[in-house]
């Protein structure tokens, strides 16, 4: 008898947790984004984020890479395998990124 009565409460609790799980990542995505550096490429090659987003680059290649903004706004140290670098984009605009050791590796970050 008591088990059947508890079920609605359990379902509500589960529903609440499920909602939080779906909403929270979306909230995080507004403030942070990750770019992977893999196989001599930035993945994704084009990323759109809101102003105030902290973008983190992570190098998965055995070869070191650097993350450099073409307009001179920022420059990472040389990133070995596993190293990361972050930059918070506060101003809207289109930012061109490249690797200064392999300058044919290009990417764009659109902030709007």
């Amino acid at each position: 008898m008591t088990t059947i009565l508890r079920l609605p409460k359990l379902l509500t609790g589960l529903a609440l947790i499920a909602t939080l799980l779906t909403v929270t990542p979306a909230l995080l995505a507004q403030n942070a984004a990750v770019v992977s550096i893999k196989h001599f490429m930035f993945e994704p090659m084009s990323l759109t984020v809101h102003p105030g987003t902290n973008v983190t680059w992570k190098n998965f290649d055995g070869e070191p890479h650097l993350v450099v903004s073409a307009d001179g706004l920022f420059r990472s140290p040389a990133l070995d395998q596993g190293d990361t670098f972050s930059y918070r984009f506060n101003k809207p605009g289109t930012y061109s990124i490249f690797c200064s050791i392999h300058p044919n590796m290009r990417a764009t970050i659109v902030v709007r």
């Binding site: 055995g62 070191p64 450099v68 073409a70 040389a78 061109s96 490249f98 200064s100 392999h102 044919n104």
Partner: protein, 314 residues
């Protein structure tokens, strides 16, 4: 009377006299057995110069001190072996050039170790240019602190050595969206001024890190604005362009210009397009030494030109 003593070529004192005359070149008419025979004294001297030449300098490149991954866990060791190879040469030249990527990540300790190893070269003169791995901080602070003096920290410079004009260029510090090497207008204008008025018979050697001609654009193997630079070099009778960066030998001759890249002393890279990118290529351990090495450049007379000899570690 034996026929030997009448033959001037077999008579020792006459042979000595003939040898002395040979330095001026030309033709000597010899009276031998009553017959006047033309004897070219010039031939043997120039033949030996034509075939072997005189060692002018060695090129070492892409030592990547600081690299410690699978392709070569001991780049200091292979640089040492390359230096030993140079030191063991029976006729050692008096000059060496390093065409860049001395270090792997521009770190002070990497430059320290590289400098230590390079000082083991039994060659009095060493000239360098930076690779993109040497200037990862953007301004090349560590590179210029150690190697910037002879160019007032500009990175590009020229000098004469044994009658050859050497030009050092930098193409790794002003990358454009095309992803290729870039010289920049200031350096190109300097090059035009530097070459102006020099006799076209003077051999020119140009050295810079990234290839000055397009080998494979998708991997950045080329220099976007080298066209103007090459146009200033076209009028010279002998131009040798030496580069590194691609960790393998690729060569091209265009008119009087010979383009040549050298093997790395650290690790090989895949051939153009054969892989996901221009990174270290891991080969079976017993094959590595055959893919590393250096280049010796000899100067040959008549006509004056360079001859390149690539030597592998094994």
């Amino acid at each position: 009377m034996s026929s030997d003593s009448s033959d001037p070529l077999l008579n020792p004192s006459r042979r000595h006299a003939l040898k002395c005359l040979a330095f001026g070149g030309g033709t000597l008419f010899v009276l031998s057995g009553g017959v006047l025979t033309p004897f070219s004294l010039h031939a043997s001297e120039t033949d030996s110069l034509k075939t072997s030449g005189k060692p002018l300098f060695v090129q070492i490149t892409d030592s990547h001190i600081g690299f410690k991954k699978e392709a070569n866990p001991d780049v200091a060791g292979t640089l040492r072996r390359t230096i030993d190879l140079v030191n063991a040469m029976p006729a050692r030249p008096s000059m060496a050039i390093h065409t860049g990527d001395i270090t792997h990540l521009s770190k002070p300790e990497e430059f320290d170790l590289a400098g230590q190893l390079l000082s083991g070269l039994q060659i009095p003169e060493l000239h360098t240019v930076p690779g993109e791995h040497d200037v990862t901080d953007g301004t090349g602070t560590e590179y210029f602190r150690r190697y910037g003096k002879n160019s007032d920290n500009r990175g590009y410079y020229s000098f004469d050595h044994s009658g050859v004009h050497f030009v050092a260029l930098v193409n790794v510090m002003q990358f454009k969206p095309n992803g290729l090497g870039n010289l920049g207008d200031e350096q190109i204008e300097w090059l035009e001024r530097d070459l102006k008025g020099r006799p076209s018979s003077m051999p020119i050697v140009v050295f810079t890190h990234m290839p000055l001609w397009t080998i494979y654009a998708p991997w950045g193997w080329g220099t976007g604005d080298s066209g103007a630079a090459l146009s200033y070099l076209k009028r010279f009778g002998s131009v040798t362009v030496l580069n590194g960066h691609i960790h393998q030998i690729v060569s091209k001759v265009e008119g009087n210009i010979t383009f040549h890249t050298a093997r790395s002393t650290a690790y090989p890279q895949p051939a153009a397009g054969e892989g996901e990118g221009p990174g270290p290529l891991t080969v079976p351990r017993d094959r590595l030494a055959s893919m590393l090495g250096m280049t010796r450049v000899d100067i040959v007379a008549h006509p004056q030109r360079t001859v390149l000899h690539d030597t592998a570690l094994a």
